[in-house]
Every structure is written in C-alpha cells, then in structure tokens.
C-alpha cells in the first residue's frame, strides 16, 4: 500500500486550518471549494485504498491463498513510556476501507448539500471548518491501528458534534442540547477509556493486531474479557445513542440539518458499531457480553420505534428512527452478524442521510418550519425532494429490492438462527419503522397544505447543490443492496467476502447455525408483508381518512401521552441523576467548599500577610543596626563552624 493514503485525514485537517484561520477573509465560493475539495481528495484516496485491498483479495482468491489484506502505515512513535507503547500509525484493512468510503463519500455529498443549505448563514465559514474538522477526526477514528488513536478520534468527533449541535449558539436551548450531548458522551467515554486501560493491563498492548492475536488464546467467557467488552460497550452506548445513554441524540437535532445527516445519522453515531466490529474477536470470546449487546440493541430498536410513532417534529421522527436503526446494528453485532452490522451501517448511511437531507430541503422550503402538522401537500411544489424522500422511506422500511431490505433481512435472519424471539421483536420493530416513516411521508407530502399563506407562497424546490446530493443518495439507497445479495437470491454477498479477513477469526469460533433456503425466503416474505400491511395502515389512516396528529393541548389517552413525552425518560433522568447531583453539589459547596477549602485558602493568605507585617518592622532603616546584625550573624556562623 502506497503511504500516500496516510494523506486521507490530512486533507480535511488542512481544510479546517485554512477555513478556520482565514475564513473571514475568504469568499463563500472559496470556502465551499476548499471545504468540499478536501473531502473529495480524501474520497479519491479512499477509493484508491479500496481498489488496492480489493485487488489483494482478488489475487488471494485466484491463487487460493489466505490474506489478511491489511496494511499498517507507520507514521511516528507517539507515546513511549515504560512498557507502554503507542504508535501513531494507520491501519488500512477491509473494515476501515468500508468506513473510509462511507465517511468520505456521504461526507462529500453532505458538504456539497451544505453549500446550498447554509448559504444565507452568516457563519458559513465556521460551519465548514467544523465539518472538515469532524471528517478529520472521524477518519482518524477508523484509521488508527490501536485503541488510543481510536479514542483520540472518538473524543474529537464528540467535540465536533458538540460544536455543531450548538452551532447557533445564541439560542440557549441549543446550547443545552449541545451540553447534554457532550456530557452523555463523556459518561460513555469513561467506560471506553477504562476498557482501553484494562485491555492494556490484560494484553500488554493496545495495538489491534497484538491484542487480537493474544486474545485468541483466551478461554470463552473469562471474567476479564466480559469486563473489557462491557466497558467498551458502555462507550458504544454513549456514542451510538443506545439505552441508557440515548437521550442526547433526539436533542442533537438542534444542529443544522446537514449536521444531523452527517454526524447524527450517517457517520459519528456508527462509531460504536465500528468499535465493536473491530473488537469482534473480544466479543466472540465473551458470549455473555454479546447477549447483553443484542438485548440492549433490540430493546433500543423497539423502544425508540414506539417513540417515533407519535413525534410531530420531522427531524425528531428521523432522530428516533436513527436510534432505532442503530439498535438493529447492535442486535446484529450481538448475534454475531458482524458483516450484517457493517452492511446496515452502509445502507443506513445512504438512506438516513438521504432522509435527513430531504427533510432539510423541506424545512428550507418551509422557511424553518419543522412541525409536520403544519406541512402537507408538498409533493406538488417539491418534486425532487418528494421523489427522493419516497425512495428513502421505502428503503428504510425494508421493501424488496431496496437497500434497506437486504441489510435488515440479513440481521433478522441471523437473529432468527440465534433466538426466534429476537427475530419476532425485530420484525415488530421494522413494522413500526415502516409505519412511522410512512406516517411522516404522508403527512408531509400528501393532503392539503396546512401552513400559513406566507409559507405557501414561499414554497420552492431547493437549489441544485442540494438536489443533486439527494439524487445521488437516492440512487445509492435504491441499489445499495447489491453489495450484499444473499446466496438464496443467487448473489455472492460481496461485502461478506470482502470483510472475511477481519471477521474470519470470530466466524471460526462462532460456527453459525445454517438455515434452509426455504426458511430464509419465508422469513423475508413475512417481514416484507408485515411492512407492507403497516404501510397500508399508515396510508389508510393519514391519507384516506386524513387523520392528523393531535394538537399540543388536545386531550389524548395516557398511553399515547406517555409515549409522546418519550416515556418521560428525560424527566426520569433528571429525578434520578440530576437532582441528587445538584443536591450533593449544593451540600458540598456549603459545607466542604465554604467551611473547609475556602477557609484553608484564606488562612494561608492571611497568615502570609500577618507574618510579613511583623517581619517588616525589622527593616528599621538604621545603618548601625544593620551592621550590628551583620556582625552578630558572622559571629554566629563562625561559632557554628567552630562547634
């Protein structure tokens, strides 16, 4: 591998530096060229890296020899202390290459989209500098060849997420949302950090290759392995918005819509998936942790989907949908379908980015309105947005042959062989997904316009910079499934073969149960049929009968109210954690801070002042006295020497 690929993260970093330092002096055109150009350069290099890996695998297959198809590009020795050693080097292997393509590919499209979306924002340059910084850290996260480099990227993307959620920092609510995201992530990060430390203590290294090689000799379900994997998983729940640390993601919608698409749907939130997929061998050796991962993922998937059913904010629906889809990915990881998880990351990146961007286009046309109760009938005036949003909605609902079908089906298939109950719940979740997505779709684009006259007058299709990324993403959402066509449909499952070197050790240990092709087809049919019924009921309710979600103050039944208020999770957290913390802080402030710490500090200060006031008097100004003191001093020294 040519070491030129080490430049992949450098371009966005340069873009960030240039825009951040000189952004105010550059024109908007130049800023957008730099912002998008740097990501495009990274994309080109990523494609090059991808083709090299692909070529290697092809050669290995042709001659029937094994290959791990991974390259380490050493850059420099970063930290060396005692027996702790962390190199700053990049790892290019099938898994990181897939993520590189997703990040730079989807990232580039969203950069282009942002040119149009953010065009009237006074902080245009600041926005692009943050986006470029985000891309840099995200690339660092997936490129690092050890856990510490991953952690640096991990923290970096958290920072960028914070900066971009609070991008419109004049709004206090947005700042609170940004703080919430950051703090929630910090809780998870602590788990991740402890996990890294424990990995170092256990394996004596934090480099992936060394850790995984050593791990191979461990017994299954050892306590230390379970602890490591669970600590890492805590990190993943923070970054990837799983129960119990998911509440920040819906609030993160305060950021500009391209940010929601890029960071809070397509890339950053999948970092947890990447981390677990990367550590697959550790998880395979800790089946208990895998059960927990699967359970948490499944529960989150269902839980978030139910909340999504009743939300009225176009971005909130998509946010809960993201949480739910991430739950599916964790379910996949938990049942050992690592390829399925990565596949779903990819297809989800396509259709969720598309849905968010299309939602952004709607919001743009509606002059900032986000409440779907005030939309309706937009299909006439927003043709391209309507069509692309429709394709994205069908894809996420898992209708054959759209991309979502293949990835979701793979996850559900593995869940079925693992535990039939998981499969059933998974199908239930996908039914709800189809329902709330089509509810959103129908309420937004069908029926009559429900906004103000002024808004109706302003309705317009978005500029080309916004619609072209939409179209590209729509095409990807439709055909994205070709990378993982299952054998039962006569496909080769390209992604499975491509990722084989990364997951082979785990697959070897997992020995997945096979299921017959007939079962597989029945499962697919059931899932698709259930989704179609669900879509029809959404059509019946919201188009035929023209139902509308209740107004804010309308009386609704208690169950619906509970779900609409997100099960009061925020209030619950406030009671359970924030109140005791506030109480404790208050007590500590009053008793420890004021009574002890403040007093101690003041005592030292006052003591110095008092002593100085006394000692000052020795300086009488009488020269005779000084001389006398000097002579006495000399005599004392002499006496001391004599004795």
């Amino acid at each position: 591998m040519n070491s030129i690929v080490a430049l992949i993260p450098v371009f966005p970093l340069l873009g960030f530096l240039v825009i951040a330092l000189f952004g105010k002096k550059l024109s908007k055109g130049l800023v957008s060229v730099i912002g998008c150009g740097t990501v495009l350069a990274s994309l080109v290099l990523s494609i090059y890296a991808f083709s090299r890996i692909l070529g290697d695998l092809g050669v290995a297959n042709a001659f029937n020899v094994g290959t791990d198809a991974s390259y380490t590009i050493p850059l420099f020795n970063w930290i060396h202390a005692g027996n702790f050693n962390a190199d700053f080097s990049f790892l290019i292997d099938p898994l990181s290459v897939i993520f590189l393509l997703i990040i730079t590919g989807v990232g580039f499209l969203i950069h282009v989209y942002s040119i149009g979306y953010m065009h009237d924002d006074p902080a245009f340059a600041r926005f692009f500098s943050y986006l470029n910084l985000f891309i840099f850290f995200m690339l660092l996260l997936v490129l690092g060849d050890n856990y510490l480099t991953m952690f640096v990227g991990w923290e970096g993307v958290g920072l960028c997420s914070y900066l971009l959620i609070g991008f419109w920092f004049k709004n206090t609510e947005y700042n609170k949302a940004a703080n919430k995201a950051f703090i929630m992530n910090r809780i998870g990060d602590l788990g991740f950090l402890l996990g890294i430390i424990l990995i170092f203590i256990t394996f004596g290294s934090i480099k992936y290759t060394e850790v995984f090689d050593t791990a191979g000799s461990f017994q299954s379900n050892q306590a230390v392995m379970i602890t490591i994997t669970l600590l890492l998983f805590i990190g993943a729940t923070g970054k990837s918005a799983q129960i119990p640390l998911y509440t920040w993601l819906p609030d993160a919608m305060a950021g500009p819509t391209p940010v929601s698409a890029l960071i809070h749907a397509a890339t950053m939130v999948t970092a947890g998936i990447y981390m677990i997929a990367r550590s697959n061998i550790l998880y395979t050796l800790a089946p208990i942790s895998m059960d927990i991962v699967a359970g948490v993922g499944l529960f989150t998937a269902i839980y978030a989907a139910t909340i999504g059913l009743f939300q009225n904010d176009i971005k909130k629906v998509l946010a809960y949908s993201t949480v739910s889809q991430l739950g599916y990915m964790f379910l996949a990881l938990g049942v050992g379908a690592y390829t399925g998880a990565v596949f779903h990351v990819m297809t989800h990146a396509f259709f969720k980015a598309l849905l968010f961007l299309a939602a952004g286009s709607v919001i743009h046309a509606m002059s900032g309105e986000q409440d779907i109760r005030k939309m309706g009938g937009l299909k006439k005036s927003l043709r391209i947005t309507f069509l692309t949003f429709m394709l994205g909605t069908i894809a996420i609902s898992g209708i054959f042959p759209f991309s979502g079908f293949f990835s979701k089906d793979e996850i559900l298939g593995h869940a079925f062989t693992y535990n039939k109950f998981f499969w059933l719940m998974g199908v239930l979740g996908s039914v709800m997904t189809a329902f709330y997505m089509f509810r959103l779709f129908y309420l937004t684009f069908f029926g009559k316009f429900r906004g103000t006259k002024e808004q109706e007058h302003h309705l317009h299709e978005s500029p080309k910079t916004m619609t072209i990324p939409l179209i590209i993403l729509a095409v990807l959402s439709v055909i994205g499934g070709i990378f993982g066509i299952p054998e039962v449909m006569g496909g080769k499952h390209f992604l499975k073969e491509f990722l084989e070197p990364v997951f082979s050790a785990s697959d070897f240990k997992m020995l997945p149960k096979e299921m017959s092709h007939a079962t597989e087809i029945i499962l697919m049919a059931v899932a698709v049929l259930a989704a179609i019924i669900s879509i029809y009921s959404a059509y019946y309710l919201f188009v035929k009968k023209g139902n509308l979600p209740p107004a804010d103050n309308a009386p609704i039944n208690p169950v619906q109210k509970t779900i609409y208020n997100k099960y009061y999770a925020d209030e619950f957290y406030a009671k359970l954690f924030m109140k005791p913390t506030d109480w404790l802080s208050d007590k500590l402030h009053r008793f420890v801070e004021i009574k002890f710490i403040d007093r101690a500090v003041n005592f030292v200060g006052e003591g110095v002042t008092w002593t100085s006031a006394q000692v000052r008097l020795i300086q009488t100004g009488h020269i005779g006295f000084y001389i006398f003191a000097m002579v006495i001093g000399v005599i004392l020294i002499l006496l001391y020497k004599l004795i």
Binding site: R616, Q619, T620, G621, H622, I623, G624, I627, V631
Partner: protein, 105 residues
Amino acid sequence: MNTIQTIHINHYILLSTVLFCIGVLGVLFRRNAIIIFMSVELMLNAVNLLLVAFSSYWNDPAGQIFVFFVMVVAAAEVAVGLAILVMIYRNTGSTDIDVLNKLKG
C-alpha cells in the same frame, strides 16, 4: 629564615585579632561615617597582616599576592565610598549615619 619569621606566629595572630576587633567595634559603635570607613580599613589591614605572616610561614607567596589584590580593592572601595560620603554630606549636612534612616520597611 627571613625577617618576618624572627617573630613568633602567635604574635602576628594576636595583633591581627586585636586590630580586627578594634575595627569591628569602631564600625559598631561610632556614628561618624568617616570613622566607620577608617575602621573598615583597619579590619582589612588586620587581615592583610595575617595573610602576609601566614604566607611567609607557609612558604607560599600566593598569600602576599592576595594582599595586593585586597589593597587594590580597598583603594577602589575608598574612592567610591568617599565620593558617596561627599554626596551625603552635601545633601544632609552631616556624616552621622543615624540621619540616614529613610530606607525602612
């Protein structure tokens, strides 16, 4: 056997000590700056005397060379010191060191 060694070393030490003590007492108890100056010179010369005596008994001329340095430094010191004294006298009309007590904490 040179002339210096015709007298016993103890006498030199005793004389120097006496001279030095007179110098110290003069510095301590006199108030006139010029007398203090002279007392300082007395102390320096007491040390010089002792250096010469020791160097002779020790058969090492280094001590006597050192004396030259002390004398040079003393001369320089006197030059500067007397200049300061002149200025003090012009400003205060006195050479009493008790007048100079402005520099206190």
